[in-house]
Symmetry: C2
Subunit: 167 residues, 2 copies
DNA sequence: CATATCTATTTTACTAGTAAACTATTTGGT
DNA sequence: ACCAAATAGTTTACTAGTAAAATAGATATG
């Protein structure tokens, strides 16, 4: 097998390390290096797709989090789902609320809490854009057959279980 | 199998979508959703580890890119490896050069090009920190045996081949 | 051999994200 | 009931990243 032609970014990085630091076992980057790289590339593509709807990736994450919930969510629940800081949630929701895509509600049981939910306009945006998002994700995985996708998902779930803060 | 207890973040997201939008096939998120989530969590951990050396993740990426190369690299080559913009490379290298970890060289064959390489101090930092980085990556994958890691790496390489811009 | 065009990097002006301080509210101890 | 401590969210002050303009050098064409 021709090394250069078969190699992706991580194969090249690994070859570099093995030449530069032969004593180190760098095999660990085979998995995490690819996860970082694929994640970053996928994120860029999705961001470009979403430009049409004039929402950022982070804003879309907020919208999707609310869209798949069967009840209004607290700001802190949205923060946990999006992996951004609480301050970012405030900013993103401010912007989305100004555009009429999301609304804030008080919670009668605790005045500190702010509940958030999609407006009809927000629901409409998600109904329009989320299918395109799914198409893009399917396209990124088009090199794998159904069995490989299932295997990959199962292995990643196993990693996820260990990496998730509360898991 | 108890659904709630087995689920990671993506299992919960998928269950939400299946309740909220039963008509959509959201199985695509099983892979890309986990890649994004694991990537973001891993990135946070690594960033925290690197705080000890007072370098950011992005700066460490620059240092590692130079460390594994057998020749000085152009600014544009560093940019391609780090997945950030050219403007970011300038900023990161400015900071690293100010700290004496990296140096810029002119290239006699083309005056527009800037070559970059580690200083001895930069080499030292990578020699000290890169092993910790590898330890962290190994720890994140501790839930998998060697065969599973190899399988996961192979499947990710297949995705990578399709997603890489020039692949 | 000009000079227009292209290319590599840096600079500028701006946006997004964050940690820490702040505000408002609740809770628990007495 | 009162007040200290804890909690939820927002604001502030700052940093990192970017797109587009600017700079400087190379290349090609008449």
């Amino acid at each position: 097998m021709d090394f250069e032609s078969a190699g992706d970014f991580v194969d090249r990085a690994r070859a570099g390390w093995e030449r530069a630091r032969p004593a180190l076992d760098v095999s660990g980057i085979e998995v995490m290096g690819r996860i970082s790289r694929i994640g970053a590339l996928a994120s860029q593509r999705v961001e470009r797709d979403l430009a049409a709807a004039a929402v950022s990736r982070a804003e879309f994450d907020v919208l999707c989090t609310l869209a798949r919930s069967d009840r209004p969510l607290r700001a802190s629940e949205v923060t946990a789902a999006t992996m951004l800081s609480g301050a970012s949630t405030t900013k993103n929701v401010d912007r989305l609320a100004r555009r009429g895509l999301v609304e804030r509600l008080p919670w009668e049981r605790d005045g500190r809490v702010v509940l958030m939910r999609l407006t009809p306009l927000g629901v409409e945006l998600v109904n329009r854009e989320f299918p395109h998002f799914l198409d893009r994700e399917r396209e990124l995985l088009a090199g794998l057959d159904a069995g490989e996708k299932a295997q990959l998902a199962a292995l990643l779930r196993k990693v996820s279980a260990r990496v998730e803060p509360a898991g």
